[in-house]
Each structure stands twice: as structure tokens, then as C-alpha cells.
Symmetry: C2
Subunit: 326 residues, 2 copies
């Protein structure tokens, strides 16, 4: 008998999952998905017990035609809340639903549509920031300052999403200190939550752990204020979740059915599938508040929108009949 | 600034990958794959720098028709070694190639065919052992004793592969102490190496870490004598590799193109793809001795044998042209 070499891991007891399928999952799908279909996906996710949903993006419809109905989705949330007899109504979905905004104009559109929580996107990679947002990181931070001021006045919850936080398709590995620098500036503007995105899915678990550690060590942000947004391009999404859990992260984005992907990354597969994340967390004994079976219903619904074969895993395992060839 | 909460991880500097595509990858494929095709896959893996290949299984052809040419594959390795001008020849593939044997008869067939390394398979799950091998674990251990004695006489390297080491499709989670008990009995018979298999791919990283720790604490086996064999059914293969690396494991099975899968598990996807594992390890700064680009050639070759779409990741990322629809 020898002593064990590993310290017992202390993982969080509860994790919150942010369902991003209606936005990140659908934005690059070729066929037009109706507002009603998007709202049905939101409803299914909320009914499964998902605590937060990113429902749309207030971006220019020329760049992302799929999100051209952002106002209708925002207004639809209000109607969802008013549906009689619907258990979702009691949870006031408008409060638990956020929208991505790339700039102040997008923010103003979101607020006008009744959205109460916004995700402002910038990047730790200057090249990625320029390609995705057509401005430098410094310019994005100046605009974030305006958005943060408006959000404080409007009592709108604000999260800053740092894309390419660990790896950039244009620059390769992002130094943890550089990520921490961007996060520090965002935090200094009063942002309440920061999302760290492995946008192209090339980060490895050591990079994710080091990046989160650098943000915790180099900013005023507490681990409760962080979220991780992971893609499964290289089959590492679950490994990167583990790396995040080990440093205390307890909020993760995921997409029903694994829909989505980074348009700048060759062969990039989708987001971490929500159902895969729920299955993992439950196996680890971590609470999510989500009913896996109802989440599988949401994933099966989401899958019909995808032009690609299923990229997740749990649906294939738990609902093999969906994948049997005729 | 706060101190970091995570200990620096000490991962192994070098990892050996055992390519199991020619055996585990192909055994359930519906179309008959020729001996020449199997040997070409072995050759491509060896040329990529893979240190060890599991080339076939000496099982009854009624149960696994795809392995009916085990003798021809065994003899073909000798011819591979004699091919003039082939750089593989210098590495004497017969020495680096192993074959699975389910019993003493299979062992005798393997040795008669010139195989110098065998993998004897049993399980930590009694139900799995009965279903897969038609006998109890105790009976498998008694037969292992005979195989171990013969292997010592014949100077044949012997590895014991413990299937369903962490999770069984019939019994669920396997207690680490139970796994350690089977490993301890195998080690007491003089087995030089033990493989721990997440056969159905349902283990989570905590289970893998706990299982390896229990084996190290409860047997005479050193970590150098262990190998992990992981499936990606739930998208956790890479996370489980990380769990293994963290407890010092430095030998992993993988299958070119991610071929293979557990026939008893609904919707089970394939083995961990060798190319995904190589990409991960190189990103982590761990040596493998494998040229990723040539490994991708082997994976692309292997993929033609698969009746399923590609289940790995690195080939899609690095060779997107293979996946473009016409």
C-alpha cells in the first residue's frame, strides 16, 4: 500500500448552466429559423430547469441575418411570461434571459426590446477583435465603458464576454497575463460578470486553468463572477470544464444539441452540448437544477435546426432511436 | 492580487500511445477488411512513430468474423519487417505489435503465428466478464494464471486488460476497491502490465482518477505498468486522459480515426482517436515520438473502413477538405 499522490479535488456543489443555443447555436445555421421556433427552444430550456438563457444578439442583420428578429425575440419573452398555466411564467423569463450586444447601439436596441441582461462581447486577441467587431480592443473597452454606464442607469445586468480568451485562430495561444489585463479593464468599468470563451475550441485544460487563475490573481473579480464558454472543436470541452471546476468556476455556457461553432476556425465543431454537460455534472454529484430528460427533449428539438450531424454525445447515448438510419 | 489556489500540475514528460485501431477499431465494422488493408494500417501507424500497435485478436471467428485472419496478420508482421528499404523494418514491428487473446487457446494460436506480445482480456465487472468471455472473473483469473506461466516460458510479453474497469454497461459504477482487487490478483500472477479500460465510455474523470489511485495503492503495480484505454461515448475521453496524466499514467490506448466502440453500449461512439490524443499531448508539451501529420495520414486511411461518420476531431480540424460535401 502506498499513499495516494493526488489531493482530493474540491469541486463546486452546484453549477449554473447558461443555455446559449438560441443565439450562439443558431447564428450560423443556413436556414432561417422562425422567431416562434427560437422562443420554443428558449421555453424548452427554461422548462428543463436551465437557470439562464442567451436568447438572441442585437447585431446588424447584414452580418448575422439569423438574428434579424432580435426585437421580436425580446418581445416574445414577455409573451412567454404571460402565458397562463405555463410553469415558465412563474420564473419571469425576461429576467433570466440575456442578449448579446456588440456595441452601444445594440445595447440600446436590446433595452428598447425589454431585455434586462446583456452580454457585451470583446476579445483578448486584437486580431480577433478587429475581425469580429471591426475595432481594436482599446476601442471595444471604450465602448464597454459607455454600455456599463448606461446599464447601471437602466438597472440592466451586464456581462462582458472575452472571446478567444485562451487561444485565437489568428494568433495562437493567448498569454494568461494578456487575458487578465483585458478582464481587469472590464472589471474596472463595473462589469458584474466576465465570460471567458474558448471561441475556436483549441484551448487545452492547462491553458484554461492558467487563464482563469491569472484572471483571479490579476483582477478584482471573484470566481463567482466568472463564466466559461467552451467549444468542442478538439474534443476537449469536457476536459476544459473539469479544469474550470478545479479552479472553482461554477457557471458554464452550453448549447442544446451542441449547435454552433466559430466561423473563423476550420472544421470547428459546435459548442459544448448542454446535455453532455448536465450528464457529466450529475455523474460528478454536482447539482444543476436541470432535469436531464427534459434537457434531452430540448436538445432533440434544437437538433432539427442543424445542417450538420449531431456533434454532442448524450442524446446519441440516451435517445439512440433518434439516430437509427431508416 | 491573490495567491493561486491550484497546485502546479506535474504531468509526465513523455507518453506512449498504443494504437489499437487494427483490432479494437475494426472488430465491429460490418464490411470485411482484408489482411493487406489491416497491415497497411499497422504500417502507417508505425511509420507515424507509434510505439506499439495492437494488431489483431485471436478470438473465435464465429464471434468476431473480422478477426478471422489473425494468423495471416501475425505472419504479415514478419513480412512487414522484411520489406527492403522500409524504415519500419528497422524497428522490428513484430516486437512492438501485440494481439488480444481471450483464453489459453487464443494465446497458443498467437504464439504459433509469431506474436511476441499478448493482451489477455478479463473484466472488473462479473456480468461483463460473463457476457464478453462466457465465464466468471475467477475463471478468467485461473486461465490468466496458465497464460502467464506459458508466456514466461515463451518469453512473450503479457498485459492484462481489465474491461469495464470503472463502469459497466450492466452494473453501473465499479467500486475502485473491486477494480484494485482484480488488478492485484492479475499482478500476483506475474503480469507485467495492466490496462484499465473504460469500455463503454461512461466513466467520469473522478472515477478514472480514483480507480487508478486504488490500483496503485492496493497492488504491487507501479504507475509505469499501467495503461488506460478510454472511449469517447460521452465526450469525456480527453478529460479522462487528463485525469490519468494527473495521477502519472503514461501509456494510453487510442484508435486511428476514432474507430471502434463497445457493442453492448447503446449509441456508444468509438475509441479515443489517436490523432486527438497526439494533438492534445503535443499542446500540453508532452512528447509522444509521433509525427502528427503522418498520424493524420493513418487516421484518414483508417476512416475509409468506418461505416459511421468520423467520431474524432483532429482530422476534421487539420484536414477539413476530407469532410467537404460534394
Amino acid at each position: 500500500m502506498r499513499p495516494t499522490t493526488q489531493l482530493p479535488r474540491r469541486l463546486p456543489r452546484r453549477v449554473e448552466i447558461v443555455e446559449v443555443g438560441p443565439r450562439d447555436g443558431l447564428q450560423n445555421e443556413p436556414r432561417a429559423i422562425s422567431t416562434a421556433e427560437k422562443l420554443e427552444l428558449v421555453r424548452l430550456a427554461l422548462e428543463a430547469g436551465v437557470g439562464a438563457v442567451q436568447v438572441t444578439a442585437f447585431v446588424h442583420p447584414r452580418w448575422v441575418p439569423q438574428m434579424a428578429d432580435a426585437e421580436e425575440v425580446g418581445r416574445g419573452l414577455g409573451e412567454l411570461a404571460r402565458r397562463p398555466g405555463d410553469e415558465v411564467a412563474r420564473d419571469r423569463p425576461a429576467v433570466r434571459c440575456s442578449a448579446l450586444v456588440p456595441n452601444l447601439k445594440g445595447y440600446q436596441r436590446a433595452v428598447a426590446a425589454g431585455v434586462k441582461a446583456v452580454d457585451y462581447v470583446l476579445s483578448a486577441s486584437d486580431a480577433f477583435n478587429r475581425r469580429n467587431l471591426n475595432q481594436s480592443i482599446a476601442e471595444s473597452l471604450r465602448e464597454l465603458e459607455q454600455v456599463a454606464r448606461a446599464a447601471a442607469d437602466d438597472r440592466v445586468a451586464l456581462r462582458a464576454d472575452i472571446s478567444a480568451a485562451f487561444h485565437s485562430p489568428f494568433e495562437g495561444a493567448i498569454a494568461p497575463a494578456r487575458l487578465a489585463g483585458v478582464a481587469r479593464q472590464a472589471a474596472s468599468l463595473g462589469v458584474g460578470e466576465v465570460g471567458l470563451s474558448d471561441t475556436d475550441g483549441f484551448a487545452d485544460p492547462l491553458a484554461v486553468g492558467a487563464g482563469v487563475e491569472a484572471v483571479l490573481a490579476g483582477t478584482s473579480l471573484q470566481v463567482e463572477q466568472l463564466a466559461l464558454h467552451l467549444h468542442d472543436t478538439c474534443g476537449r470541452a469536457i476536459a476544459n470544464v473539469m479544469a474550470g471546476l478545479e479552479v472553482g468556476v461554477r457557471r458554464f455556457d452550453a448549447s442544446a444539441g451542441g449547435l454552433g461553432g466559430c466561423p473563423y476556425s476550420p472544421g470547428a465543431s459546435g459548442n459544448l452540448a448542454t446535455e453532455d454537460l448536465v450528464l457529466l455534472l450529475h455523474d460528478l454529484g454536482i447539482e444543476t437544477g436541470i432535469d436531464l430528460d427534459r434537457m434531452l427533449d430540448a436538445a432533440a428539438y434544437a437538433l432539427q435546426f442543424s445542417a450538420r450531424p449531431y456533434q454532442g454525445h448524450a442524446l446519441r447515448v440516451k435517445r439512440p432511436e433518434l439516430f437509427r438510419q431508416a
